[in-house]
Amino acid sequence: MASIRFDKVQKYFGRGEKRTHALANIDLEIRDREFLAIVGPSGCGKTTCLRLVAGFEAASEGAVSVAGKRVTEPGPDRAVVFQQFALFPWKTARGNIDLGLRNKRMGGEERAKRIADVLKLMNLDSHADAFPHQLSGGMQQRVAIARAYVLDPEVLLMDEPFGALDAQTRVVMQEELVRLARVRPRTVLFITHAVEEAVYLADRVAVMTRRPGTIKEIVDVKSMREAEDWNRFERIEDVMDLDSFVHLRTRIWKSLREEKDS
């Protein structure tokens, strides 16, 4: 069981006079195979939450644990998809995907099989030997997601993964991610500032307050999705037209709006 737990987490940055309180008393559990999205005003500490799970930052107080184990350093069991892709420009798509597997000391055959598999899954077959700069933004992000997925991680951490993409590509990638979540469900922590994206993708949406960031409320999307059977639609725009979707979106918008205006 790979759940993520935030246990009374406090996070401060800097020292003395310059010390800022980034996260205040975050208490949150992301269940096994659950897709949880965090939305919040910019600078509220959404990304810091993700970086705590990834092991890039340490909590000042409290603890973050994954599958019952306390996080002490980054590792391939918690794969990260970065906003700016963070692909190694000197490695081909295949080389980027391969690195994590090689680090696991996996045999050549097994690696080749896994890579072929994930390339197919992400529709990257024809771009396997291209360098990142030869790929479009959407393709680069596919590679970044493939690099994370191929490790078969317990949890997947996505930091505004589609923030750097143009609107059309973004929609395609969102649909792709929903498809992926159905084929290979994982525990996902997804950071975004786009409410529609959160409602479309997530099982639950956590709304954060302004700094110091706290979890203001958690909105259940999954029960609505199942009750209204959103999954019968292939396309995002059909889902977005549903009254149930609009209702949830507006509710979260209002909650967020109070934060932005105050």
Binding site: P74, P76, R78, W90, L99, G100, N103, Q134, S136, G137
Partner: protein, 261 residues
């Protein structure tokens, strides 16, 4: 516009060549004792290519100098780049080494020449030593800066993927710093040639600098010009070779095509 630029460039070079000929050979405006005419230069070139000058042919002198530059440059890369990477990689190493580096760095490489001659004599070893010192500094500085300029997200991505230390250095830090490393190597190469020529001018038994030195003593302007041109051509060749290596090593960095999605 490109063709116009080339046309103007070409006509400039022709004009300069013509002016050179007119000023030296036809009008005698510049005396042959000050600057050689094209004919003098050609004669000097014939002499050094055939019978030789300063104990060797032009090719032998040039190969000798090239070999020294290659050796000094290679030693500088082999020592400077790893040191720069190490200092970039570890703040402790930086704190330990940087003050010594700062102490030695203000001394221009050419100022080492008398000491090198005292220590190692007029032979090849002294030349290699000063070239090493000259090429070392840019190699270290740029490798260091290259590592420190790595995008933090790439470091985080590598750590997230569980990359072990050695692979981290060879597959993440070094390639990521490589554009800067090559910038450093270009500077190193330039410094190598300057230093070699200076060292050979101060005292040498063989090489292009020796040709220049002897020609100066003999007051032989034609040979001076031939020597200078030979130095320039050697420098140009090695720079081109390095650029070729850079283009190969940084193929991932060269592409301009970025197809729209």
């Amino acid at each position: 516009m490109a063709w116009r630029r080339q046309l103007v460039g070409l006509s400039t070079i022709i004009t300069v060549a013509l002016a050179w000929y007119l000023a030296t050979s036809v009008t005698g405006f510049i005396s042959g004792g000050r600057f050689p005419s094209p004919v003098d230069t050609w004669a000097a070139f014939r002499q050094i290519s055939g019978r030789g000058y300063a104990d060797g042919t032009l090719l032998a002198h040039a190969l000798h100098s090239l070999r020294l530059v290659a050796m000094g440059f290679a030693v500088a890369i082999a020592t400077g780049v790893p040191l720069g990477l190490l200092m970039g990689w570890s703040r402790r190493a930086e704190a330990l080494i940087n003050p010594v580096f700062l102490l030695i760095r203000p001394i221009p490489p050419l100022a080492w020449i008398p000491l090198a001659i005292l220590w190692l004599g007029l032979g090849d070893a002294a030349k290699i030593m000063v070239i090493w010192f000259a090429a070392f500094v840019p190699a270290v500085i740029n490798s260091f800066a290259g590592v420190r300029a790595v995008e933090p997200a790439l470091l985080e991505a590598a750590r997230m993927l569980g990359t072990p230390p050695w692979r981290f250095i060879t597959e993440v830090l070094a390639p990521s710093a490589s554009p800067m490393i090559f910038t450093g190597l270009r500077l190193s190469l330039q410094a190598s040639w300057t230093t070699l020529v200076a060292a050979e001018l101060v005292g040498a038994l063989f090489g292009l600098g020796r040709v220049l030195n002897l020609a100066q003593q003999d007051i032989y302007p034609g040979m001076i010009l031939v020597g200078m041109l030979a130095v320039a051509i050697c420098g140009w060749l090695t720079t081109g070779l390095l650029a070729l290596g850079e283009a190969r090593a940084l193929a991932w960095n060269q592409g301009e095509s970025r197809p729209a999605s």
